[in-house]
Structure formats: C-alpha cells, structure tokens
Symmetry: C2
Subunit: 229 residues, 2 copies
C-alpha cells in the first residue's frame, strides 16, 4: 500500500475526489477562469478521464456548488440553547468562515453572470437562503410567521449576503465587526418593523425578554439610546 503505485479509485470515490478538487479551484478564483485542464491536472488524471465522470465544466461546477451549499447550510445549524443574540453571532462567525474560504467563487456566484448562472445554480443559492430562513424561524420559535416577520428575516438574509460581498471587495473592515454588526442589524430591522406594527412589537417583546442585559440586543439598545440623546 505504500509502494507509490497509484491505487485505483472506484467511480463514486473518483467523482467525490474530482468535486473536492474542483470546489477548491472554483473557490479560489472566479469559476470562468478555471479550466477543465487545470482540474484534471490538480486531480492527477487526464482531461478525457474528467469528461468520463462529468459531461462538462458546468456539471462539475454544479456538483461542487451542491457540496458547498450543503456545507454552508450545515453551518447554520446551532443548538437551541442560550441567548438568541449569542447563537446568531456564532452562526455569523461560521458564515464568514465560509465566505473567507470560498471568497472569489462566492463573489462570482452571488454577483451572477453568464459563466456561473443557470437554473440549477440559482436553485442551489435559493435553497441555502431557505435553509437560513427555516433555521432563524425555528430559533425564534415561530412556525407560522406573519408577512412582516417573513420580510424582516428574508431581507436580513439578503443584507448578510451583501455585507459579505462588500467585505470581500477589499476587506477594509474587520470581519469580527461585521459579524457583530449583522446580529445588531437583525435586531434593528425587527425593531423598525415593530415600531409600526403591534403584532411585530408583541413578537419582539417576547423574544427580547429572555435576552441577557449584556447580550448584543441589550447592548445595542443602550448604545442607540445614548446616540439619540
């Protein structure tokens, strides 16, 4: 087994290896700059053999994106324990870890473009957004969200995406600051909605009553009051 002779891989094992190699390349550079030749070379196999497993670059890209989507959706899962603000902050840390690891590929995908956009890739992006939405509702303990809560959660998810994309473009603000800020942004958007709708206000009161006085929600409220006075 250590003779240096390359072990022959099974079909599924080889497919998984190729997906891993492709994902790494698609993450580090814009996917339209990555060639099949490069993927073959990084995987240590011939170009025709790549085509034996995947009909073309798009199908390999989609398989890599599927793996990345599963990975990211998995990072949204957080135990239902402790203050909500602290839970969301831990998820934000794992989200920025992911964005950091897949920077150029994440930017290319989310900014759209002919090389990366297809109905399959769009569906994968939407499935990750939906996973985030479902997780947040479960932590809020809401099964039948009113339209205004759905709007706050979904528009905040899009805010998190755009914040990550802007961060990637030059990394001029420390990511730790943005992770905390996004937790506070969630509270702020919910508070704006609650300021104009009694149902949202009641919901928000129920959520924040269990938050600790030194948690991100309470800290933000204190700082905003200080700013306003």
């Amino acid at each position: 087994m250590t003779t240096g002779v390359r072990r022959r891989m099974g079909v599924e094992e080889r497919r998984q290896q190729l997906i891993g190699v492709a994902l790494e390349l698609f993450s580090r550079r814009s996917p339209d700059e990555v060639s099949i030749d490069e993927i073959a070379s990084a995987a240590g196999i011939s170009r025709p053999l790549v085509y034996h497993y995947f009909p073309g670059k798009l199908s390999l890209y989609e398989a890599a994106l599927q793996r990345a989507s599963d990975d990211l959706a998995g990072r949204f899962v957080e135990p239902h324990e402790g203050p909500l603000g602290a839970r969301l902050l831990r998820v934000m840390r794992r989200y920025f870890d992911f964005v950091d690891e897949h920077g150029p590929g994440f930017s290319a995908l989310m900014r759209g473009g002919p090389a990366v956009g297809s109905s399959t890739t769009n569906a994968l992006v939407d499935s990750v957004r939906q996973a985030a939405y479902v997780q947040i509702l479960s932590h809020l303990g809401v099964t039948n969200p009113p339209a205004r809560l759905e709007l706050v959660v979904r528009s905040w998810i899009s805010l998190a995406e755009s914040t990550a994309l802007i961060w990637l473009d030059g990394r001029r603000i420390p990511r730790e600051e943005l992770e905390s800020q996004l937790v506070n942004d969630f509270a702020a958007l919910a508070a704006v909605s609650a300021a104009y709708d009694e149902e949202m206000a009641a919901l928000l009161r129920g959520i924040v009553k269990d938050e600790p006085a030194d948690g991100p929600f309470a800290l933000l409220a204190g700082r905003l009051i200080a700013l306003a006075s």
Copy 2:
C-alpha cells in the same frame, strides 16, 4: 395625414417604438415567456422586420433594459432641499412606482436566471445601483466616504431591492408601509454602525442635527426608545 394609411417610420423612430413595445411586454411577464412574434404583433410589424432592427431577442431585451435603467436612475434624482428623511421617502415612492410598473420583469431580472442574465444586463443592474449610491452620498454631503459609510449605503441599497422583490411576491404588506420602513431602515443601519464606530457616530450626528422633530428619523428614535423601555 388622417387617411388611415400607416406613416412610414424612420429607422431610429422604429427602433425606439420597438424598444417601447418590448419593454412593456418584458415588464408585464417574465422576459423568457415573451416571444419575438408577440413583440412583432404588438408593434404591428412582421417578424422579419423586427430582426431587421435587432439581431435577436437578447439585443432587444438589453435595449429595453437600458431604457428602464435610465428611467429608474432618473427617479433617484431629488432636489437638495428640505429634510433628508423626506427626500429619501419621495425617492422610495418613485422606486416602488417603478417596481410596481415593471413587476414581473423586475423580479425575473433581479432573481437572475439564464434567460435574463448576461454581462450586459449585469452591468446595467450595477449601473443603477451605482447611480443610487452616488445620489445618496451627494445628499449626505459626503465626497470621500469611509469604508463603513460605503457599506451602510451599499448594503441598504441591496436591502431596498430585496424588500421590493419580497413585496412583489404576493404584495401582502402595503407598499406605503415599506417605503417608510426603508427610510427608517437606512437610519437604523447607520445607527448600528455608529454605535460601534466614532467616525460614523460623528457623521450621523452631523446628518441628523438638521432633521425636524417630526421627521422619520426622529420619529423612529422615539419609537425605538419607547420599545426598549
């Protein structure tokens, strides 16, 4: 001139007419559902004549999108007079007018997809975002924005987009509420940033000091303080 005989149009006039007809069709339904035959029929000309002016559906779509982008960017222009919150609210009204008029086409474009995504369409979407960004900075009186202000403005623009898209999906919340809410969201995101950064706090203080006590910024601050207490 009123004999009922169709007047012959010049080349540029015909192109502009076709763009107008196409834009109306592309606005009311998802662009991939609109055929060249339908555009020809709505314009009262033959299918081959459409191809005489535009090589294909994509080029006609791009021309229609160019006109819509110019239209939308024009709606961002607002006199530099009166309270900032009131200015932004007027722009939000015109923004939702536009979204309302172009609903299905706006959704299809912004949600991406193979039928509507190209480097040209992406560049047009980006140019509209950039126009919004430039307008906001000019109203804030800032020529050299710090990274955190750029983040607040750009991420808020993306929040306005996602809010409009969610509104279009069922229109379950009155648009007037969302227009006001987005003005408040801008203040809230700026306040969160200011709560953690002294430069942003100084900038925000300079901005809100001239806002009237019954303007959207002051009203929001009051309501948030009431919520928090």
